[in-house]
Symmetry: C2
Subunit: 261 residues, 2 copies
DNA sequence: TCCTAACTTTGTACGGCGTACGGAGAATAA
DNA sequence: TTATTCTCCGTACGCCGTACAAAGTTAGGA
């Protein structure tokens, strides 16, 4: 009836095993552990991006032949799944404060900081990674942060998605320009200085009254196209205002002792 | 003084040229146009993802030898830049309604729909693509939608980033599971049915009271891990509430004729 | 008119990628 | 001891982006 379970699942949950692991295996012992391999891969991805995590490159860094990696991990895709959960697991999830606003902020900030530390997390696609132990722990923690506001189960899930999604989108946008700088070897400012005249010429005839004014103001304020930190602060404040207003409205509607009418 | 401008800029703005183009060129005419090449690439990416846009594959689809593409486009990376702007240009930016709430919704919905139609837009990194003509038009349109709310220039920019970032994050999350289904050939539901028992076994000993309850509720409500449409509606409503509340507060503070105190 | 320079199209080739396959040697189970 | 099972790794295949140069086509200048 049930198909064979996904083999990478067992690998993902290898540390939470129900104790049936310590059966000795036949061949020679492995030089490294899966954790060491995954940690090295995370380090490589942090430093040079997910594309730099090649089986050859990673093996070289570990002093192994490329094909040896396949005795630790079934494939590159599975390695990435393990990287995601292991990276999430490095962050200690802090205790939740009493104040609701601070709790919601914390959810977004933890996600933001993790994405910033491991920008490749946002590049991972085609993967069911949210089912690892650390992802599960995190989801539980996130739900605890939005619990007790008077939201229903579905709204709790949606609130987490809202906070986490927005935090990720900020890093995603920032990551786009960082990568462009890194790959081209030209900083955003240098590129702009070199291309502004040509761009102005090409844009001649078109008018961008608002974009021109706003772009100028933003550029002067931050010496850059934008400030991810400020965008996070601004968006987060608006989002939490909206969520808390909704929550107090919802719990007022549901609480039987209506104050007055 | 100024370095050579980025050659891909001229290609990006090729249609907005200041009329100095129609000089005849010497060799034989090209069989295709840049637009046709880019359109074919967009079709390929829409259907099979950005990874499927290989120079060989695209050339084959166009009936060309792989290297011929390099007479239209300097590199694959530049092709992708052109794809982004051309995809954005396909969407007609609707007239902005009078109601502020509707205007903000529209900004998010247009972005959401475009990302949904071209999910590979979210995979594009390492590229300065927002400087194409259609990207510029869109930014101007987005700013017009948040104009007149009483926000300062920087806050206008941040509001656009908030709406657009959130809309993108919804599609990004949805795209992750779609790709996982597509690449593995197993639907999310099938995968879950096959792996739920094994997963339950692996999770034994750990308790996820909230995640268990909420996950169950969400799963029953949507027959899936979540509903992107509902997440968009929910998040958008909260965000716009927060933005409008902030805007009315800000404009009340700034308006010289204070009503009373 | 013909020559020449510029341009398109293309074949070949190089170095990189993920990984299938099979062999050699080591460690355990029998 | 022997058989089995595991680790490690060399080789190879089919992909990728694209550098390079040859061959063919066109327009401008003589």
């Amino acid at each position: 009836m049930t198909r064979d379970p996904d083999p990478s699942l067992r690998l993902l949950w290898r540390h939470a095993a129900p104790g049936q692991e310590p059966q000795r295996r036949r061949g020679p012992k492995q030089r490294l552990s899966v954790d060491e391999v995954v940690d090295a891969a995370i380090g490589l991805a942090d430093a040079e991006g997910l594309d730099a995590v090649t089986m050859r490159g990673l093996a070289g860094r570990l002093g192994l032949a490329p094909m040896t990696l396949y005795t630790y991990v079934p494939s590159r895709q599975d390695l990435i799944v393990l990287m995601v959960d292991q990276a999430l697991g490095r962050t200690h999830l802090p205790e939740l404060p009493d104040d609701a606003r601070l709790r919601l902020e914390l959810v977004a900030r933890v996600q933001h900081d993790d994405c910033r530390a491991h920008p490749w997390l946002l590049d991972v696609t085609g993967v069911r990674a949210w089912l690892g132990p650390h992802a599960a722990d995190r989801y539980e923690w996130q739900l605890a942060a939005v619990d007790g506001l008077g939201l229903g189960d579905i709204e709790m899930d949606q609130t987490v998605a809202l906070l986490v999604g927005f935090a990720g989108s900020i890093v995603h946008a920032e990551h786009r320009v960082r990568r462009a700088e890194q790959e081209s070897g030209v900083s955003d400012r240098e590129w702009w200085d070199a291309n502004a005249p040509a761009l102005g010429e090409l844009m001649a005839g078109r008018s961008y009254p608002l974009a021109g004014r706003v772009g100028l103001t933003v550029g002067e304020a931050y010496q850059a196209a934008g400030s991810p930190e400020r965008e996070l602060e601004f968006g987060l404040a608006r989002i939490i205002d909206g969520v808390l207003a909704h929550a107090s409205r919802a719990s007022a509607d549901q609480s039987p002792p209506a104050p007055e009418r």
